[in-house]
């Protein structure tokens, strides 16, 4: 392979007491790909996402994002390196408005707090940032905090400009996901489909390189599902994203994924183009007796 993979997962294992939720999973995702991640309920898909975002510390293996090891890193550092996600069970900031949700997603991109929004892209930059952080230690945090608080209280022109740009960007993102005009509504008051779209906008606001979507079409009707697929494809093009998509509807997987990884009981049982995976006996076996099996057999099964 000529291009360096954006994501490299090697021998990743996660054990919860007795349960091996992930068992030596390997996965390599090239930049720009839309990768499907499928498997029966409880296969470990969400657990894999939780490792990729730093929420779980894996018990074994490693995760490299563009060559930088991110497993075990604090969540906000992983986010700073360009990993963003949505949640299977929608987790918006329910009592904040729609645009505030997006602005929280944009937290790191709003330059008001000094050195903490360094966004290292390459390995040596990452090292540099770490060293700088160590050298500065607490004082660095204190300085950036004071800068942030003073800025918020005094509101100098630079602060106003930063805030203005952030809101403008947030509004464009909301427009991109089809939530224009809903800026001031409380997130909790949005209908279900809009909440999913808002989660997407919030994730995009952090300017991610790797976007993890956990069942983005769950609970959507066929029309909404089609619109969401369309949106995901468009966003990939416009923002140059790499996307990993957990999905249960075969039609979606076939429609937009270039490659699919299949998990079952924490192990990777198949990987490849969707058509090949669909015919894989191990996959059919794993799904035996589930609704999904019919979809597999039927090719473009009904949702």
């Amino acid at each position: 392979m000529s291009v360096r993979p954006l994501l490299e997962v090697r021998g990743l294992s996660v054990r919860f007491q007795g349960l091996l939720a992930l068992d030596s999973v390997d996965m390599t995702v090239p930049p720009g790909q839309i990768r499907g991640l499928i498997g029966p309920n409880g296969a470990g898909k969400t657990t894999l996402f939780n490792c990729l975002t730093g929420f779980y510390r894996p018990t074994g293996g490693s995760i490299l994002l563009d060559g930088v090891r991110i497993d075990g890193m604090p969540m906000h550092h992983v986010a700073a390196l360009g990993v963003a996600r949505t949640f299977q069970n929608i987790r918006l900031f329910a009592n904040m408005t729609v645009i505030e949700n997006v602005l929280v997603g944009a937290h790191r991109t709003i330059p008001v707090g000094g050195p903490d929004q360094l966004r290292p892209r390459r390995r040596h930059e990452q090292r540099l940032a770490e060293v700088a952080a160590q050298l500065r230690g607490l004082p660095g945090g204190v300085v950036s905090s004071l800068v942030e608080i003073a800025g918020a209280l005094v509101r100098p022109p630079a602060w106003i400009r930063a805030e203005r740009e952030a809101v403008e960007r947030a509004r464009r993102l909301l427009e991109a996901v089809g939530l224009r005009g809903r800026e001031n509504e409380l997130a909790r008051n949005l209908p279900y489909g809009d909440q999913r779209r808002l989660e997407l906008a919030r994730a995009l606001a952090s300017r991610p390189r790797l976007l993890l979507l956990d069942e983005p079409t769950a609970g959507m009707n066929p029309g909404e599902t089609l619109a969401m697929m369309d949106l995901i494809r468009r966003l990939r093009e416009e923002y140059g994203l790499t996307i990993i998509l957990i999905e249960h509807q075969m039609r979606v997987v076939m429609g937009i994924c270039e490659e699919v990884t299949v998990l079952d009981y924490g192990r990777k049982i198949a990987e490849g183009p969707p058509e090949a995976v669909q015919r894989d006996p191990a996959v059919i076996e794993a799904y035996l007796g589930t609704k999904f099996a019919r979809q597999l057999r039927g090719g473009h099964g009904t949702p």
């Binding site: 700073a80 945090g141 509004r171 001031n184 952090s206």
Partner: protein
């Protein structure tokens, strides 16, 4: 230039009323000392109310914005008060001859430091555990005050604490002068905390309150922002302490009990977390009213309710006449005010429970500030490809 309005937060015309209201209220408050009816005892009560507004707004940063239940807020109040006491009381061994106006910023700093001190060990704790540990922290500080006798005067406390000097004038001492000091402080704290709330830091706090894990996944350094919430809230509490010590002139550990923490928390919760007017209202109801009930003026008014007392007392009087033992009788109306004031903690408790059941958001739940994000009319945002514009970062 419609967008400029948006940025400078110039309110749309129909919102002017909402902006003018606070300004009008502040003007009204400023006129209070000029009204002859409000004698010194009234102004002293208002000072206390104002002090609790300041403390409530400070605690609101921790509890209302960041969602961290802090039951040890009195510790920061005590830190400021004792800083003022130790630095200016003749009874303390420290004699730096610092004046109030120098101590005020020092107290801000000290409060923030004590806030960090509390914040560091309790960071991993959530919810109930956090409440218990902060409660313990408040008690530790109080016990320290009792035991560090050489510096704090122990349970005797410190007396003759300095009043703030005004250059070219006298020291602030009269109740009306203190009234203005607390009014200015409360307005400043309200203004500044609203600015924090409407900035990136405020959104980070609220995100942490809503869902800490997701906030972290969005790139927010939750440890840092929780510490900042503690430090900022504590700094405000400490400033309140300086004002209190200087106003009262005498402090000892009995002024810094758990009851203070609970009062401040009750002020915040009753009024509605996150809402400035809620805090003002809560402070007035919980702190002001019990004091006012004990006024002679109140007794004078109540005295005229003799008929009501007779009516209420009728069944008890009848029972008293019949029963061989003494029966409780409804007391004289002029004592009712004091009676209610004495039982205020029962009433607070009932009020708190009632509010939490009926209106979990408080009496005045914080309204989302919408209008600063008021969308411009559609024609102004029409872009050929909004997406492309968003992508060209």
């Amino acid at each position: 230039m419609p967008d400029l309005r948006l940025w400078l937060k110039v309110p749309p015309r129909r919102d002017v009323a909402r902006r003018l209201l606070p300004a009008a209220a502040v003007v009204l408050f400023a006129l209070v000392p000029a009204v002859p009816f409000f004698t010194d005892p009234w102004l002293r009560v208002f000072f206390l109310v104002g002090l609790y507004v300041v403390l409530g707004l400070g605690l609101n940063i921790v509890v209302g914005f960041a969602g961290l239940l802090d039951l040890g807020y009195v510790a920061f109040f005590a830190a400021g008060a004792y800083l003022m006491g130790i630095l200016t009381s003749p009874q303390s061994p420290v004699d730096l001859r610092l004046e109030f106006w120098v101590i005020l910023p020092l107290a801000l700093l000290l409060g923030a430091l004590v806030g960090l001190l509390l914040g560091l060990p309790v960071l991993p704790l959530r919810g109930d555990y956090l409440a218990i540990v902060t409660l313990g922290f408040g008690e530790i500080i109080r016990i320290l005050l009792v035991n560090l006798r050489d510096i704090t005067g122990g349970s005797q406390g410190l007396a003759a604490i300095e009043k703030p000097p005004v250059p070219g004038w006298q020291r602030i001492d009269e109740p009306w002068q203190w009234y203005y000091v607390i009014l200015v402080t409360a307005v400043a704290v309200a203004f500044l905390s609203a600015r924090l709330r409407d900035a990136r830091i405020g959104r980070a706090w609220e995100a942490i309150r809503e869902d800490e894990d997701v906030a972290a996944a969005m790139g927010i350094d939750t440890v840092k922002y929780k510490l900042l919430a503690f430090a900022t809230g504590a700094a405000v509490g400490s400033v309140g302490g300086v004002l209190f010590a200087s106003y009262i002139g005498f402090i000892n550990p009995t002024s810094f009990t758990l009851q203070v923490s609970i009062n401040v928390l009750a002020v915040v919760i009753i009024g509605g977390m996150g809402n400035t007017w809620g805090v003002v209202f809560g402070a007035f109801i919980l702190i002001g009213v019990p004091e006012l009930l004990q006024f002679r003026e109140t007794s004078d008014v109540l005295e005229r309710l003799g008929w009501l007392r007779t009516a209420l007392d009728a069944p008890f009087a009848a029972l008293d006449a019949l029963a061989p033992f003494g029966v409780w009788r409804v007391p004289e109306p002029e004592t009712w005010g004091r009676l209610v004031a004495d039982k205020r903690f029962i009433i607070y408790g009932a009020l708190l429970v009632a509010v939490m059941v009926a209106r979990p958001g408080g009496l005045f739940p914080s309204r989302r500030r919408k209008l600063e994000f008021e969308a411009p009319p559609p024609s102004e945002v029409a872009e050929p490809s909004a997406l492309a514009a968003g992508g060209s970062q």
